[in-house]
Structures are given as structure tokens and as C-alpha cells.
């Protein structure tokens, strides 16, 4: 039997959500978030264990998981995961150049992780911060009005500090 990947803490956190929903299946997405947070990916073995926990077929979990784009299954994303917005407001202010610059500097394509496993760059559709275009989300931190040069410096800093650099640098501006 394959080695179990869900920790007792994860199982407890998932079970604690059961009373919130009238069905176990509704816990699927919150449970996937808990696994992603803990493992930085959701391997097939985790899908099997979640299915057992929620009383579903593994295919049901897999069906839901694969509909969304944020749950890697092959290997963990880096401790720093950067989402670069490419939708219209950011695109009008240089998002494509920014994305190219970041990927070139990291030596990876969008959706990939650096060979050292530290950094993942992802493409995002509208991050909902269009007043700060072009913007990116580095873990939980929104970075506003990022020029190519600032993006390169930011990437450098993130790779050195890892996931610790988690401050939101931009508060929404009152107008």
C-alpha cells in the first residue's frame, strides 16, 4: 500500500469543516486547499485519501481538482509562487514584457518551477487589481505597478528570502 500523504493535522482540519456543509462533497474544494497549503501539490495518493475521507470516488475528486488550474499534481510548486496577470488592463501597461522578463531571468516557462525547486511562475487571468497594472501576486502579497526592472529586482529578493517575503506591499488606495 502506498504511503499515506495526508497528515493528521490536515485530516483534522478537513474534518472540522464537515459541519459547515450539508454534503461531504462540498468539502472537496476546501480540503484541496488544505492539502495544497500543506504539500504545495496534490499528488494522486492525496486524491485517493481525500476520496476515502469524503466518501467519494477518487474520480470525483480528480474531476473537480482538474477543472481548476491551481492544483499541481506532479511535483510541488516552489515555496514562492508568483502569479503574473496578463489580462487586458495589465496587458495595456506592459504585462507581457514583465512576464517575459521574469521568465527569462528565472530560466523557466510560465507554469514551471526553477530546477532548485524554489520559484514557480504562473500566468494569471485578471488579478482584480487593475488600478495597479501591471501587477503580480507573490504568494499572498500583491505587488503593484511592477516595471520590468522592479520585477527583476523583486524576483531576486524573493528567491533569496523564499516564502518569508509575504508582505502585501500595496494597500488599496482610497479615492
Amino acid at each position: 500500500m502506498a504511503e499515506r500523504v495526508l497528515t493528521d493535522e490536515m485530516l483534522a482540519a478537513i474534518r472540522a469543516l464537515f459541519p459547515r456543509y450539508p454534503t461531504r462533497q462540498a468539502v472537496t474544494l476546501p480540503a484541496l486547499h488544505i492539502v495544497l497549503e500543506g504539500l504545495r501539490y496534490v499528488p494522486p495518493q492525496a486524491v485517493v485519501e481525500l476520496a476515502e475521507l469524503l466518501g467519494l470516488a477518487p474520480a470525483q475528486i480528480q474531476d473537480t481538482l482538474s477543472f481548476y488550474g491551481i492544483f499541481p499534481q506532479d511535483r510541488p510548486h516552489g515555496p514562492t509562487r508568483v502569479w503574473v496577470c496578463r489580462s487586458i488592463s495589465c496587458a495595456l501597461r506592459g504585462a507581457e514584457d514583465l512576464l517575459r522578463e521574469l521568465c527569462a531571468q528565472a530560466g523557466i516557462e510560465p507554469g514551471e518551477t526553477t530546477p532548485d525547486g524554489q520559484l514557480t511562475i504562473e500566468i494569471a487571468e485578471c488579478l482584480g487589481a487593475c488600478e495597479h497594472a501591471p501587477c503580480l501576486l507573490a504568494n499572498d502579497a500583491l505587488h503593484a505597478c511592477v516595471s520590468r526592472e522592479q520585477g527583476a529586482a523583486l524576483l531576486d529578493r524573493l528567491r533569496r528570502s523564499g516564502a518569508a517575503d509575504n508582505q502585501t506591499v500595496s494597500e488599496p488606495l482610497p479615492r
Partner: protein
């Protein structure tokens, strides 16, 4: 008309605007306390109906009317889903409300749940808003501590639980039945309506789905009355018996090629030109070429059309789909409409949920055609092909279950019909040899192998 006084953004400039203490010091939760003391749920529904409030999420459906679709006799729970899956490109007003004034959102949510007799609310918040998540969770915790949530709220006997539910980066979850499917733990494939969610929604029970800004408006309607709300905005068109009017304040998002992008509060009916002026005008002293009136799904306005009023009726008079989220994105004179349309088609091809073939294939093929045009292999007849595709895609021509495809179609139709010359010039310039003729299509191997 009295001078307009902002209400939705009134609190956000204050220090600590996201805390209960600051919100209450500015009069927050007094409306909730009074309503729970003095009004029955049906009276709140009546109040909201009278105010003329229409949904702020994009479709503009009258909110009070939506609530009356719930069954009169309840045989089980009513669920309330707060749609905080703000994903329409160009739109960020819900994010600002949740990050900077989460209690305004919660007061409106509790009032709306009380009106609809919901005892559980799922707050469906998009994945990309981590700060909003933290602020909303902290605000919910404060509300439980203060007795504004939980069993027997403020001694009224009314009980309500609010649970944050995190999305996972899919635009389609902003469609109300897609949201419900996602909440239930399935892939977010929108449902055929009817049955409408008010009759059979989440977990097969009556369900209301409303947008964040919509419930924020409910707070102010409860505090200031329906007549106050109706004194703001645009009254119904007397020549259109189906126009219920566009009342109340609105949060306009302005971004793209402007000097000061941002969220601006004004009465419904502000013109695109006035909004751009509030944002300091087009950037770098340039002129505008075009603007999206309400999120990328709504199509495009030419610069000559900027007198278009941003209310629920006027954008359609300019050939746009509607007001949408009132998120205006400005393109200056140097912007390429080919690049714009490529960006739009790429977005919809990425976000189509894949359920309906016309949308799944139509958005994917429109992207391929645009990629080919950008790569210098476009043909003039591609423009007609794109129009044919745009005209046959969506709820309006009756080929899809939800409106995502209509949004995809509208940018195509508006961009090519309003800016055809630019597309033709691009094709002629980049593909001078091939634009007249059909590019030879290689025969499929399977047909030539024998």
C-alpha cells in the same frame, strides 16, 4: 438634485477602516440593529424592491424581485451565496470593499440573509484575493464575538452562520449556477435554468446569489430608505416599459491608459467621458481610441461614443452588451485593436468551462484565428468568419447555457464592426501576398495516404 454624497467608499479612507470599532464609530451596524428590532423579513424585501436596486454583479437583475422568487412556504433551509468571485477583467470594486470595509459588506450580507430567511451564507471568495480573505475572516470573527452572527442575533431569535469558501481560479464560478456547482464540490458547469436557484439552488434548496456590491447597497438602503436610493441615478425611460431605471450609487472601476486608475463612486448614469475626466484623462497627453464600458464581456465603445451613460440601459444603445460591472478600460490611440481582441479571445478560450460545444470550440477557434492574424497569416475573410462566429455564440442566439460566450462574442463583434478598417489594414500590411486568397490548407494525411 442634491449634491452626490459617496456612501460605499465613505469609510475606506479612515485608519483601521477594516475593523469593527472604526466601522461602528461611523454609524455601522445601526441599520442592522434597527431592522432586527422593527422589521419583518418581508418588509425588508419590500423596501429593497421599492428602492429599485439592481444587481451589481453584471446582469442588473432587480434584487428585490429576485428575492420574491423564493417559495413563500419554506420546507427546508434557504442558502445565501455571496458572489465574491470578482473575475471580470477590469473589475476590482468588490476587492476594495472587502479589503477596506469588510463590515459594510457583512452588514449588508446579514440584512440580505434576514430578508431572505437564509440561515447559512456561503461567502464564495475568489482565490486571487488573499488580503480580502484575511480581512473578511477577521471581520466575521468580530461579528460572532459581537453577537451579530451566530444563534439568536442581538436577541432577535434570528440565527445566521457565514462561512468563507475559497474559489480556485476559475472565472466561470462568478456565474451564479457555476458558483453553486463549485460550492457543491463539483466542476463549475453552469446549470440550465429553470429551475432558478431561488427554487432549486445549492444542495437542491432555495438559494439566493448576490454580488458583494449589491449587498453593500442593501446596508445603505436600510439606513437611508428606498426614496433616498431612488433619488440617485437615472429614472426609467418613459418610452421603454421594460426599463426599471438605474438607481443608486455605483462603484466605477477605471483602468488602462488613464492618468489615475482607480475606483470612483458616482451615481449610476455617469458618462464614460466624465469618468475618464475624474481619472485625470487619457495618460501621456494622448487621445483615446476606444474603451470597454463594463468589463471585457461588454464590448467596445469608440472614442466618439464616450457620451454613453454608464447605466443599465445606455450601453446597449451603442451596441454594447450592457453595463456589466461598470469597469471602464481605456485604450489610447497607440493601442492595437488586433492585440486587444487577441487578449480578449485568449481570456475567454482559457476560461470557457468546456460544457457547451459552441463556446468551447468557438472561443478556442477565435483565439487560433487571432493568433494567425497576429502572426501575419491573416486573410480578409477571417474577419467575416470571426463575425459569423460572434453572431452565433451565446445565450442571445440560443446556443449556450450561460452568458460567458456572449461576453466572448461581444468583444469580437464590437471590435470588428467598429474598427474593421484597422483589422483590414493589419491583414493587408502583414500578409500582402495572401490576403485576397484563401491560404492553401494542407490536405489531411488520412485522405491522401491511399
Amino acid at each position: 438634485m442634491a449634491e452626490f454624497e459617496p456612501v460605499l467608499l465613505a469609510n475606506i479612507a479612515r485608519d483601521g477602516s477594516h475593523t469593527r470599532a472604526v466601522y461602528e464609530a461611523a454609524g455601522g451596524y445601526t441599520a442592522l440593529k434597527r431592522v432586527l428590532r422593527e422589521m419583518q423579513p418581508k418588509h425588508v424585501v419590500e423596501l429593497v424592491k421599492r428602492s429599485g436596486l439592481r444587481g451589481r454583479g453584471g446582469a442588473g437583475f432587480p434584487t428585490g424581485l429576485k428575492w420574491t422568487f423564493l417559495p413563500a412556504e419554506l420546507r427546508g433551509p434557504v442558502y445565501f451565496c455571496l458572489n465574491a468571485d470578482e473575475s471580470e477583467p477590469g473589475t476590482f470594486n468588490n476587492r476594495i470593499l472587502m479589503e477596506s470595509d469588510p463590515h459594510q459588506v457583512l452588514e449588508g450580507l446579514i440584512l440580505s440573509c434576514y430578508a431572505t430567511r437564509a440561515t447559512t451564507a456561503y461567502f464564495y471568495l475568489r482565490y486571487e484575493y488573499p488580503l480580502a480573505w484575511k480581512r473578511m475572516q477577521a471581520a466575521i470573527d468580530e461579528c460572532y464575538a459581537a453577537g451579530y452572527l451566530g444563534s439568536n442575533i442581538l436577541g432577535s431569535g434570528y440565527a445566521l452562520d457565514v462561512y468563507l469558501h475559497r474559489g480556485a481560479g476559475a472565472y466561470i464560478c462568478g456565474e451564479e449556477t457555476g458558483l453553486i456547482e463549485s460550492l457543491e464540490g463539483k466542476r463549475a458547469w453552469p446549470r440550465i435554468k429553470p429551475p432558478f436557484p431561488a427554487v432549486e439552488g445549492a444542495f437542491r434548496h432555495p438559494t439566493v446569489v448576490n454580488n458583494v456590491e449589491t449587498v453593500a447597497c442593501v446596508t445603505h438602503i436600510a439606513a437611508r430608505g428606498a426614496e433616498w436610493f431612488r433619488s440617485i441615478g437615472v429614472p426609467p425611460d418613459p418610452n421603454d416599459p421594460r426599463d426599471p431605471g438605474s438607481f443608486g450609487p455605483k462603484l466605477y472601476c477605471l483602468s488602462g491608459h488613464v492618468e489615475s486608475p482607480g475606483c470612483y463612486e458616482a451615481p449610476l448614469g455617469l458618462t464614460v467621458r466624465e469618468l475618464i475626466e475624474r481619472g485625470g484623462g487619457v495618460w501621456q497627453g494622448r487621445r483615446a481610441k476606444a474603451a470597454i464600458p463594463g468589463g471585457i464581456s461588454m464590448g467596445l465603445l469608440r472614442a466618439e461614443e464616450f457620451d454613453c451613460r454608464l447605466d443599465f440601459a445606455d450601453p446597449a444603445r451603442y451596441g454594447c452588451l450592457g453595463l456589466g460591472t461598470a469597469a471602464v478600460v481605456v485604450l489610447d490611440e497607440t493601442a492595437s485593436l488586433v492585440d486587444f481582441l487577441h487578449n480578449s479571445c485568449r481570456f475567454f478560450a482559457h476560461e470557457s468551462c468546456g460544457q457547451c460545444t459552441p463556446c468551447r470550440e468557438g472561443t478556442a477557434w477565435s483565439l487560433r484565428i487571432l493568433e494567425r492574424i497576429r502572426a501575419g497569416r491573416g486573410r480578409l475573410k477571417d474577419l467575416d468568419l470571426l463575425l459569423e462566429l460572434g453572431d452565433s455564440l451565446g445565450i442571445i442566439p440560443g446556443t449556450t447555457i450561460c452568458g460567458l460566450a456572449d461576453g466572448a462574442a461581444w468583444s469580437i463583434k464590437n471590435a470588428i464592426r467598429k474598427f474593421r478598417g484597422e483589422f483590414e489594414d493589419h491583414v493587408r500590411r502583414t500578409n500582402p501576398g495572401g490576403y485576397r486568397e484563401t491560404n492553401p490548407v494542407p490536405a489531411l494525411e488520412i485522405l491522401t495516404a491511399h
